[in-house]
């Protein structure tokens, strides 16, 4: 069937489709509780490490890793900020989850670096100090990372026009 619409109407319809996509792109995010849980867990792990009980540190690290490994795969992809929608994988971007988890791994390395620096400076609880610094980075940087990902997805939508 031949469509009975003008090119201007077709253009307006495509813009309406893009607006709908943008509304969903705005939902790409992680739940706030993830960042708080990660930050508090990080500080707790740092504090436990400073107690210098290897078995306790090992158990806490395994517990932290297990909890994170359970939670992260479902939400780190940015598709489930709320329970009100699930953003499709192609809109959220297939690399979002890997980027978030890569940043978490990088923060682990950063914590070790901060702890070594704090230790060299004579801090009494170097890992706690380092983990508090990293926790602040998580709370401030996590939402910014997702905002950057949303901007990137919007730019990808622009480029596809």
């Amino acid at each position: 069937m031949e469509p009975q619409i003008t090119p201007a109407e077709a253009r307006a319809a495509l813009e309406a489709v893009d607006r709908s996509r943008l509304r969903v792109i705005q939902e790409i995010d992680l739940p706030v509780w993830y960042w708080w849980g990660l930050a508090l867990g990080w500080v707790a792990l740092g504090f436990i490490t400073d107690l210098k009980h290897p078995w306790l540190t090992t158990a806490a690290t395994l517990l932290f890793g297990a909890v994170h490994a359970t939670v992260a795969p479902r939400i780190a992809n940015g598709r489930h900020r709320t329970r009100r929608l699930s953003v499709s994988a192609d809109i959220a971007g297939f690399r979002t989850g890997r980027l978030v988890l890569g940043c978490v791994a990088a923060l682990g390395v950063l914590t070790v670096g901060f702890a070594l620096a704090a230790n060299a400076d004579g801090a009494r609880h170097p890992v706690t100090v380092a983990s508090i610094l990293v926790a602040v980075i998580i709370l401030l940087g996590g939402p910014r990372l997702l905002a950057a990902i949303r901007r990137n997805r919007e730019a990808a939508l622009d480029a596809a026009r």
Partner: protein
Amino acid sequence: MTEPRFDELIHPGTRLSIVGLLAAADWVEFALLRDKLGMSDSALSKQLSTLEAAGYLAVERRVSDGRRRVRVRLTPTGRGAFQGHVAALRQIVAAAESEHALA
């Protein structure tokens, strides 16, 4: 490559916005869809019923945390129709632009 296919059912503005939003998601709750599109419950229900009758979307009713929730998602038929419609719109725009370039 999606075959361009203009779809009269999807094309009206409100339905196009609904289907466009659903196409970008796996599923959306009715309440969020209503809020995002600034529609009333009854207006949205009416449009969803039309699209559901055509087999373009599925409405799932479930109880979660003691609350009744309604999820809406596009069916593969609806997704295909939407992609074909968008391809048809692009084709119309591209044809007009090439005509304009030749003129």
